[in-house]
Symmetry: C2
Subunit: 143 residues, 2 copies
DNA sequence: TCTGGCCTTGACGTCAGGGTCAAGGTCTAC
DNA sequence: GTAGACCTTGACCCTGACGTCAAGGCCAGA
């Protein structure tokens, strides 16, 4: 099959396939007229790449899986190098989740605190004997 | 103070400060010879930006905080626009954490499964009556 | 006066993962 | 024989937040 058909069947674009080829990730054979030629096996490799990418793997990280499949293994993650990538990714994910959770806590705390401060400010503003309102912008010049 | 000193005191670079100025985020006054001139207030604004950035806020998202400070408020998050950014960021963080957690589960499952498969394969390989080993690569031609 | 350090603007590079266009070759159907 | 769909390479564009380099201005100390 040619590049357009493969792209369509895999739900991607021809540009992407040429890009993968330029990285040596998914080389293509050529027909007599120079057109790229792919088979069902290439579709499997490509699906492996796209699946991993959807999980947030970088393209370079998908390489061991693709080479594992290409060397005849039934699954891309049958090889030690792929398992190593899985483990690295798990550690990365754990660290990232922990970092984001810590930030989430801090931002949540900041928001709650700032909301309390604002509520106090507004309460003071509605009270007739409160502090002078902060008329920052758009105060009519006549007043 | 000049750009080099501000950069050093804020723990960033002169390039970064020029970049912020090009965005209109942290404009600088100029001295007679054209050098940028900053004061302690600018340092506060810059610190606000850097703190938010460390939390993963994009530069544009820090703008309400900076403008809030610049308009005389005691804290960058005293203004409604800043609170709105906080809330948006919280939602973003929650979604991101949820997404990463789901992926983490799937990758963890995949890893465990692949490890089991490999263990079985190796057990079969050591057992003399096992299934034929997958001699994928480097099988000597004589054998 | 010279040297070294700071400053200026402008322009290009980086990283990933492609999008988009141009100019042209190929193939199929009518 | 020609229109239209497909293919080719090459080249430039995009995002974000800067890094890096070039070529030159300004200023303080020896």
């Amino acid at each position: 099959m040619r590049i357009g058909e493969l792209a369509e069947r895999a739900g991607t674009t021809t540009r992407t396939l040429r890009y993968y080829e330029s990285l040596g990730l998914l080389p293509a054979r050529r027909t007599g007229n120079g057109y790229r030629s792919y088979d069902e096996e290439d579709l499997r490799l490509l699906q492996q790449i796209r699946t991993l990418r959807d999980f947030g793997f970088e393209l370079e990280e998908t390489r061991p899986f693709v080479e594992c499949l290409r060397s005849g293994h039934p699954a891309g993650d049958s090889c030690p190098a792929s398992l190593e990538v899985y483990r690295r990714k798990l550690a990365e994910l754990d660290e990232c989740i922990a970092r984001l959770s810590a930030i989430r806590e801090r931002v949540g705390t900041q928001l709650a605190q700032a909301e309390r401060a604002r509520a106090e400010l507004e309460a003071a503003a509605t009270a007739p004997e409160g502090a002078p309102e902060p008329r920052c912008e758009l105060t009519p010049p006549g007043q």
